[in-house]
Amino acid sequence: MDQKEIKKISGSVAIMEALVAEETEIIFGMPGGANIAMYDALYDYSQQLKHILVRHEQGGIHAAQGYARASGKVGVVFVTSGPGTTNLVTGIADAMIDSTPVVCITGQVAAHLLGSDAFQETDIINISTPITKWNYQITDASEIPSVLAKAFYIARSGRPGPVLIDITKNAQVQFFDYCGYEKCNHIRSYRPKPIVREQYIQQAAELINRAQKPLVIWGQGVILGRAEQEFKTFIEKSGIPAAWTVLGAGAIPSDHQLNVGMLGMHGNYAPNVLTNDCDLLIAIGMRFDDRVTGRLDSYAKQAQVIHLDIDPAEIDKNVSTTIPVWGDCKETLPLLTALIDKKEHKDWRRKFQSLYKEEIDAVIHAELNPASDELTMGEVVQLLNEFTKGDAILVSDVGQNQMATIRYSKLNHTRSNVTSGGLGTMGFALPAAVGAKYGAPERTVLAIIGDGGFQMNIQELGTIMQNSLDIKIVILNNRFLGMVRQWQELFNDSRYSFSDMENPDFVALAAAYRIAGKCVSEREHLRDAIKKMFEHKGPYLLEVMVSKENNIFPMIPAGAAVSEIRLK
């Protein structure tokens, strides 16, 4: 449409025009009284805008998150007012803490009813304020184009995050003079990227060149910043061993020779122990979460710290830095790489190898080659690797299944690890897998979920059925809220207070949704069952009965230092 040309359109049509202009491919949502006008407009846009009807709004936002994580694009959600909006809350909080770009468009009662306790009126703006990067209520249709432009810009720029736009019913049906959609690329008060300061880059490079025992720890910032290549070049030139946070997994391949494994509570032995031995810690796009640092006052106290982050509020938040490198790591990493010496750090890297060997002997070997007949989560994941060859997107839920998946899965590509990191939201994986499949339709999407978490958004089997979505679901069934049971065993004298579960027949349940499935409990049948699952065209549910009381190790007990990580 010609920019100058003015035509009269409704607010709802303006919403569709905005989504088309923002190149939205897909919307996850649920209609209701307060957004029915939006859905009516959507009806005419079904050629340009794909919409997936979810079975619960929480499923909708987790799907949008999964989509965003797999594709790098902004996820979009439509919900109605009142309960439709409150059902989003968990997902918004999850997207906020994991920096996931999502735009939620919520219906609201008509403007003249605001504050009157009208039917399905909920003050979602105030409810969502602490858990959104930005939110705004539109009461007049003429605001729609500019506000949505701002919403998309804020959601995707800088450190990404969720944005919620609440649109009253009157604005959705109101006709106004529309003069085209203009994308936003500047907001007076908002600077998505801090200015890169040369002197800090230089000082950081000097520290790196001087360091004898440097350790790189990276997080999701590398992926969000699309800086995987820049990151790889940096570590390859510097020869510095690099370890990852849960959300950083996959930024470089699992088997890269400088990849020394996972940090934190259930991470690998070597990077945790050596965090307290290195002389220089280089943190890249990570935020020193307490699950990564363990006890803060004994975290890397011997080391100097360089922190690269796009969010200035992260610098010195938990760990004091020697040199802060503010900026987008896609820009700062190449500047740093240019100034550093080529090195190999052979002796230092050997330390990682020898501690890794200790971990293999104490933990990994037994997990992957169990002596008992009972299946372990690790061996299931290991066997899945054989079939995915490291090329699938792994969507894990929360608990032991998540830790086993992330510890033992092979990831060759970035954007292959979709999981709820900062919030630890059980029920995330099934809907997130739906979104991930739409975000990367050409890739295999494998959801690995516990028997507890599976029942938290189980209704999304309906979404999978209706769209014949080719998702492979593996339930690691230990008939327990496994991670809770593990803590109770280790720290509460095995007093299993309300952590054991009587479960339904998951395969029969899948069958009710016309989803094929199978249950295995014996090792000899596992390989065949997995093979069948991957050969099957369309969705498939594989329930694997695993050991009831297996534990995830290593483990840093809550309140302990990273170097006090336990192998058993």
Binding site: I125, T129, Y190, I195, A313, K317
Partner: protein, 186 residues
């Protein structure tokens, strides 16, 4: 005294923002989510069109204040945040006192009052008189004590407003902020 314990003291946080519905809530929850009380809060338009200025008084350690300020600055509608101790600023509060005119006229030496306490008369009516004074907490408190016996009907005090002693002026900084930052974005 335990030297390990960081010192808590009054910090004056100055926040420059755009003027949007709900922004006050967004700013307040930066404090409330950490269970930090706001001792005094003033918000009003600044000298720059479209920009509001908040003065927020917080009793905390400098380390906490620094983190709060970083978090505030990260809010989309916030342009700039500064913090200062009381030594670095000049501050004032405005107070108004409403007293019965009859009592005042008969028993109080109004002239003395005006002189000693720097008070001004804002309104005189048959039934009541309103005084106003500007100053720091002790000064405005003193006048309450003086007027209390004469049947103080109503009293109100504004939040603290703050001028930073050594600032080059926000005008200058804002122009710099708006200039440098445009090219910074993708």
């Amino acid at each position: 005294m335990n030297l390990e314990t960081p010192l808590k003291q009054e910090y004056n946080i100055t926040v420059y923002t755009e003027n949007h519905v709900g922004l006050l809530h967004r700013i307040c929850i930066v404090f409330s989510r950490r269970k930090i009380n706001i001792e005094s809060l003033n918000t009003s338009p600044s000298e720059v069109a479209g920009i509001h200025r908040f003065n927020i008084l917080i009793f905390e350690t400098e380390e906490v204040i620094r983190k709060l300020c970083r978090h505030l600055e990260k809010l989309t509608e916030v342009l700039k945040v500064y913090y200062h101790t009381n030594e670095d600023i000049v501050w004032q509060e405005l107070a108004m006192y409403k007293v019965p005119t009859s009592v005042i006229a008969e028993q109080v030496s109004v002239e003395r009052l005006l002189r000693c306490y720097g008070a001004r008369v804002v309104v005189i009516r048959k039934d009541y008189t309103i005084f106003e004074t500007t100053g720091q907490r002790e000064e405005t408190d003193k006048l309450i004590t003086v007027l209390q016996p004469y049947g103080l009907i109503e009293f109100v005090r504004s939040a603290r407003v703050v001028v930073i002693k050594d600032s080059e002026g926000f005008n200058h900084k804002l122009r710099q902020f708006e200039r440098t930052a445009v090219g910074e974005e993708s």
